[in-house]
Symmetry: C2
Subunit: 210 residues, 2 copies
Amino acid sequence: MYNQETAKIVIIEDDETIRDGYAYLINHTSVYKVVSTYPSFDVAKHKIVKDAPDVIILDIQLPGTSGIDALPVLKKLLPKTYIIMLTVYETEKMILDALANGASGYFTKNTSPAKIIEAIKEVMQGGGPMSPDVAKKVIMSLQKNQDSPLTKRETQILELIARGKDRSQIANELFIEIETVKTHVKNIYIKLNVNSKADAIKVAKANKLI
Amino acid sequence: MYNQETAKIVIIEDDETIRDGYAYLINHTSVYKVVSTYPSFDVAKHKIVKDAPDVIILDIQLPGTSGIDALPVLKKLLPKTYIIMLTVYETEKMILDALANGASGYFTKNTSPAKIIEAIKEVMQGGGPMSPDVAKKVIMSLQKNQDSPLTKRETQILELIARGKDRSQIANELFIEIETVKTHVKNIYIKLNVNSKADAIKVAKANKLI
DNA sequence: TAAAAAATACCCCTTTAAGGGTGATTTTTT
DNA sequence: AAAAAATCACCCTTAAAGGGGTATTTTTTA
């Protein structure tokens, strides 16, 4: 594992006040060492491999290449480095994109430096820290609509359809006849006001029915 | 919104030591009030509506009805109540199931009472608290495999297939011919060693390629 | 306990999609 | 310049999708 005593941090953040503030606080109130700070990814990319950081604190709103676009590149340059995202915005899409692309943690900028230092510690220990507002959005993205127009069986069948299964596979899996599956599918289409698998999946996902 | 001063908590947990311990600490070191504690859901279900709790702390490993099974019932009985799950285990499936079924937060039992009190506060303010190890698992479930055998285009097409789109819809969306889509699909099948949409989706999801 | 909702199953029908084989060109990356 | 990725086209057969209608049994709820 890593040696926490010497863990190296790099901060990529365009706002000089925030950048220097975090750097100062990490250096003076924690065991971690900020080895470099950069105002943009485009400046950082040529030097960051030499820094060999254990953790990168990456702002999303950067001039030039955005933090989101920088993420996959950084993961390729430094596969073992943990990346904690920082942002002022917190749209569900942005958060999910960042996490899907390899971010280890995600914080909004109203997060105190103490929490960020705690997050560095957590990330070094294999955790996945995020601020409560971010966690809320992630949880919401996992939650299903409580008052679905679909019955349990219909929801179950629609989920199987969404996994690419055809009628006969669904029938086999649920120990019912193909014709029964067909009837359920027809009722699903009527309830969702669609007339194809693709549209049913689209509507169901938009309304978090599946 | 809720009045934080009088927020009512119910604890459902079979271990008496843990149950009383959390209750004592919440009552004596926070502004929240534990109005009832129960050793199982089966005992709680008849009385909990009268308790009208703002937050329920729900153990997963309960005698009789498990916390996972109790979750949808509780959501129906008390739709506006926040539920924080507690567990000793932390399998990805269990966590995702709990969150998908309406849990507001998720903690493992090595979590300090202070963190639980903080979690109650966060949940009352609309946050979605979870312990770092849980957050890690949630993040992992969102992350894609970095070294996929599929090309970008193939991944993109497989994602559209997984959304139930057929060849012609994919062709339209990507501004390419149906025949090209077909070729990509054939190459996907060869790379994943499958010969159907359903199997391709299954293998791809198992390996987090999509 | 009676009514309503959900789940089950079968018949008709037509159109469309899926999957496999083979070969080839162009574009992009390395 | 070579390799990888993306593009397109023709052959073929079988399987699936979607729309229509009807009807029974089981489960849930009022």
